[in-house]
Symmetry: C2
Subunit: 418 residues, 2 copies
């Protein structure tokens, strides 16, 4: 069988499974998730053995220590996956919720009810635990999923998918609700992206390169973000101690993630008081600063920022700093260089807080809190499958509810159109 016909067969099986999944009651989905967790724990050793095959190839291929670290499955990691499955089982089922219902003058009762999207294609890199996370969220939300992981994790992913499918079968659910594409062929992604009649939505997770590749090739709608160029604006009326804690947290707590701060905007009215303390603290933490001309004039040991530092996601301990003469200048800067991901203002001024919330066109806009809170768990959605910065469907972090859509249901008593 060619790779194209294999992947098409996977798509057809997924579509078939999706029709069954749509109607599944919550208790049956939860039972499968619980059994998956047990199977992970029971097959712990075999899983580590399979993961070793991937790690051996990774060492041979000379992958970076960071990538090898992300690829490695150990006992706490496996327990974490099992715990994640149990947490998803405990979350409410979004499917079937009637979000609104009203009665028309002619007596028609019209409602909107949540339904699964159908078949989700999930394309991701190295971490094998993502296989289990994505499968659990898709199953709970009633969607079939086709998983295409990185070739470096192929043994781990195939073994994991086998366990998940066993659990599905043993609880009477369609085995093909979760499928891994068992191939490292680079063509596989392109073929999956062409199955527009079988796959409803594509979610890629990984570096900007992977996501741009997927988006440019896909004929299926893609929910994704390219990067997070997140800003914190320290207003003239900020509580400066609070601003210091928030900016430090936003940059330093976990600098390699999409919701970390990349540019700090500081109102010139408080720059003299705020910047020296803040700069000292960043220096101490090893953060490299790149400043606008005003910032450099202020602290001559700071490197000048280049034009391409402003739209950049450093993904590490580097921060661009700009002094602005007004909130308008801050808003203009964000509109020009931001990525519609996450922006925060620190202020005690009522009007500036409300204006920032209204005018900033980002998926999460915060007042007096760290950008690091743009995360499904932190915002209270439960687990998330990713963050979407396209405006369509679900702008921001996507939890179970965001993996559904709504259809209209109409209860009539014989109404016809006049």
């Amino acid at each position: 069988m060619s790779i194209a016909s294999m992947i098409e067969a996977i798509g057809m099986e997924a579509k078939k499974a999706a029709r069954e999944l749509r109607q599944l009651r919550r208790d049956r989905k939860d039972a499968a998730l619980e059994l998956m967790a047990r199977k992970l724990m029971e097959n712990h050793e075999a899983l580590i053995n399979e993961n070793h095959k991937d790690l051996t190839s990774a060492h041979k291929a000379g992958l970076s220590p960071a990538m090898i670290d992300r690829l490695t499955l150990d006992s706490p990691g496996i327990e974490g996956m099992a715990e994640g499955l149990r947490e998803v089982a405990a979350l409410p089922d979004p499917v079937g919720e009637v979000t609104r219902m009203w009665t028309r003058p002619n007596g028609l009762r019209v409602g909107k009810t949540r339904i699964p999207l159908g078949v989700i294609g999930f394309i991701y890199e190295s971490r094998p635990n993502v296989t289990v996370d994505a499968a659990s969220l898709c199953l709970k939300s009633g969607n079939a999923v086709i998983l295409k992981g990185g070739s470096e994790a192929i043994h781990s992913n195939i073994f994991l998918a086998g366990l998940l499918q066993e659990a599905l079968e043993e609880t009477g659910l369609p085995r093909n609700a979760v499928q891994v594409i068992p191939s490292t062929d680079r063509e596989a992604v392109g073929i999956l992206l062409g199955l527009e009649d079988l796959v409803d939505i594509i979610i890629p997770r990984g570096g900007e390169g992977l996501i741009r590749f997927v988006t440019s090739r896909s004929r299926i709608p893609v929910l994704k973000h390219y990067k997070g160029v997140c800003h914190v604006y320290v207003d003239r009326y900020a509580d400066l101690k609070m601003a210091e804690e928030i900016c430090f947290n936003a940059k330093v707590q976990r600098p390699g993630v999409c919701n970390a701060m990349e540019t700090m905007l500081v109102h010139e009215g408080i720059a003299g008081e705020f910047l020296p303390r803040m700069i000292a603290r960043f220096h101490e933490a090893g953060v490299e600063l790149r400043g606008c001309p005003k910032t450099v004039a202020f602290a001559p040991d700071i490197l000048p920022a280049a034009e391409d530092d402003w739209p950049r996601e450093f993904l590490g301990l580097v921060l661009a700093v700009k002094i602005v003469s007004s909130m308008d200048e801050a808003l203009d800067h964000i509109a020009q260089y931001g990525s519609n991901h996450t922006e925060a203002i620190v202020t005690d001024d009522y009007r500036n807080a409300q204006r920032f919330l209204a005018e900033v066109d980002s998926s999460v806009v915060l007042v007096n809190a760290s950008t690091r809170f743009n995360d499904g768990n932190q915002l209270g959605l439960g687990a998330e499958i990713g963050i979407n910065t396209s405006k369509l469907h679900a702008f921001g972090p996507m939890g179970l509810e965001e993996l559904t859509t709504t259809k209209f249901i109409v209860y009539g008593q014989g109404q016809i159109r006049q």
Copy 2:
């Protein structure tokens, strides 16, 4: 200026206007809509003159009488457009609604608030009144719109856009909130579809050919339906008089539209009683029937349906008829041949009604009512800009609310991530 740079300039102006529109209060948008209505009435004669230019070209080009009819603007048509503008002004503004708000254990207050999508590209055929309808819905929902109408309506559309822009300017709104691409160049659509950094969403409205062309070329998400292959299933437990009225209405009241019935599925248990009356009524109304073998065995004067009649949108007085031996067979038929648009069941059986509502994967599913109710106005959404049968964003008829998305807003008191 080349056509490409002209359209790119239009896109850039739209994006600039969208940033202003996002923050506009309802009263200012409504004032512009009301003034647009007055300007249409005041410029009534000039508009009819411009429309005559289009009609003259249409006659020369030998357009069909149906197309010329759709292109024609007369006094009642212009009054209808003005009335439509006033109706949109009277609808609630979806922007700014906080749809949910909750507090996290750490005190963060997290909410979801409605925001406009941004810039909408609207691509459509002949009817110039659609120019005004689409512009009004986009403006009210806070979106900038780029309109690309058919070349046959170019004079009418340019003149209409001029009036709308005058009204925008005179009420202090950005003139480029509404722009018509003033070109009949066929390349224009392709160029518009490539502006992925400037346009957030594409809505095409017209025949299946136009929509397939747009979808295959677009790098921007497209909300659309290709066709409506709508089914009515007359259950074994149907009230047969009600079924007759609903099926007749669904097929005959306006056969050329997407929510008309194309296939009637009849349970064999009541076919003997139901079909003779129904067939006689359809014959009387000039409906051509195409039947499955069982139907033909039943009424030998009916033509046999070909395989390609089942997935077909006849858009006229033709109906496919199939006798099914169970509700499962009806559901399978719909899953195989349906277009996820609109399906109805006629039944007095509680379980069959609930099962049909749950299992049919269409944007609107009805019990004991005509398929013709899949329409934003009829369902109570107010005016609609189109019907979407892709699952993403807004499955079904799209009114003002469906032209928005939500972003997260977070009110903190200095929270940082642990």
